[in-house]
Amino acid sequence: MPNRHRTTPLLSWALAASFALCATAIGWVFWATPIDDNLGIVQKIFYIHVGAAFAMLLCMVAAAGAAVVDLMAPNEPVDAFGRAFTEVGLVFALIVLTSGPLWARKSWGAWWTWEPRLTLTLLAAFIAVAVIAVRGFAAGPRGGRKIGNALIVLAAPTAYLIHIAVQKWGGTHPQVIQGGGIANWQMRLAFWGCVAAILAVAFAMVALRGRVLRLQTTVADLQLERQAVQLRRARQQAQALSQTALAASLNTAPPA
């Protein structure tokens, strides 16, 4: 009987290809792009930072979409991929929140400023942590499913605010893409290559994590089924024993 839960060769290849693409893009960033006149070598963080921010934003929007679908019409694969999007979104939020201060120290002279986009990225990461914690503390793999989905739906407006924060409030966050783009073609190629590679890695991670979560649910279902069978068998044995004991007591009872 074929194992339908085995990791498919396509997924393995996609994962390997995404990591290879990522390695190539990072190699291009360090060996082929010129060093920025103002910021120096630190500017190279930009290639990873922006790609990770795109991946985080996409994962959060996808997680919110999956949560809405699962709340309207519960569906196991949608729930598994929604959880995977949340977890991978958190990973990329942490990358953004780590790489951002490294760049900010050089660019703004401070590790952290309470600028709207930074603040809301931090809040979005906290919301993702809260969702994962709620699902972790609820009993069973399906426990806290609706609650986690409800919270991630509430996180969607936050993700939207992250996107529009700079335009709306006029923060000090640099706007390279909207503000005229990247002049140098080598930098432009490296930037979009990094974005594509990071998005490919993100989606490969989501595919893999979604598959693991679905397997966990299947295993939990099988364990429940096994427990139910064992309970049924134990009840039948107890009934048979009690009937035997009753028959024996009737047979050995002294005549009145």
Binding site: A124, I147, L151, L161, K168
Partner: protein, 223 residues
């Protein structure tokens, strides 16, 4: 009975229970005052607390006090074994949500009425542009009550809910807190509508999202 009538009936029931037991509101008021005093101790400089700390102390104390109130919001129903019955009543879970949100808003408004002058006295704040702070407090408390009633309801049946509630609520309520602190600080500096417009509109937008999303999510997720 319509949803509004059911909500009103449940709200009256909750208010009657709260008035009879008198256990929650009194403690919330005392806790908020104590919290403000502790904050004031933290900001004392040469025996005087500076008024620039007023917005932070006021809003953070309100958030902490609201969290304490939210932990007891659904406990009366749970302890009486009426949680499932209330959820499965004729009108569904929506009237329960609205009644709890109204109760929480009522509690936090009463706390705020006592706390705000107390913080102003403790930290020696001037009474300038009070109406803008009042508007921000109204918007902030409404948003906190809606988000809080949803989060407390979602976590009502979960282990370690006391630990999880702040973890869930604070990031969601933080934009309201941020905007509220900013408006209060601007009001104390004598700023007018054009300067605080964007922050008040942000609070209004969050409240609008809360009014639409929270009852829907409660009905979907708690049942």
């Amino acid at each position: 009975m319509s949803t509004a009538q059911l909500t009103w009936t449940l709200f009256r029931k909750d208010v009657a229970i709260a008035a009879r037991s008198r256990e929650v509101l009194g403690f919330l008021v005392i806790f908020s005052l104590l919290c403000a005093v502790v904050f004031a101790f933290g900001f004392l400089r040469e025996g005087r607390a500076a008024q620039e700390h007023v917005p932070g102390v006021l809003w953070v104390t309100l958030l902490f006090t609201n969290t304490l109130g939210l932990l007891r919001l659904y406990s009366a129903d749970e302890e009486a074994g009426a949680w499932t019955l209330a959820l499965r009543s004729i009108g569904g879970p929506t009237p329960l949500f609205w009644s709890k949100a109204m109760l929480q808003l009522g509690f936090s408004t009463i706390v705020c009425v006592v706390l705000w002058p107390a913080v102003a006295i403790f930290l020696d704040a001037r009474a300038i542009a009070v109406h803008w702070t009042a508007l921000a407090l109204l918007l902030g408390l409404l948003g906190q009550a809606l988000f809080g009633a949803l989060c407390a309801g979602l976590l009502a049946q979960i282990r370690l809910r006391e630990v999880l509630l702040p973890l869930v609520l604070y990031p969601l309520a933080a934009p309201l807190l941020l905007a509220g602190v900013k408006v209060t600080a601007l009001a104390l500096d004598g700023a007018q509508w054009p300067e605080m417009q964007s922050w008040l509109l942000l609070m209004l937008a969050f409240d609008a999202i809360a009014v639409v999303l929270c009852p829907w999510l409660f009905a979907r997720a708690v049942t």
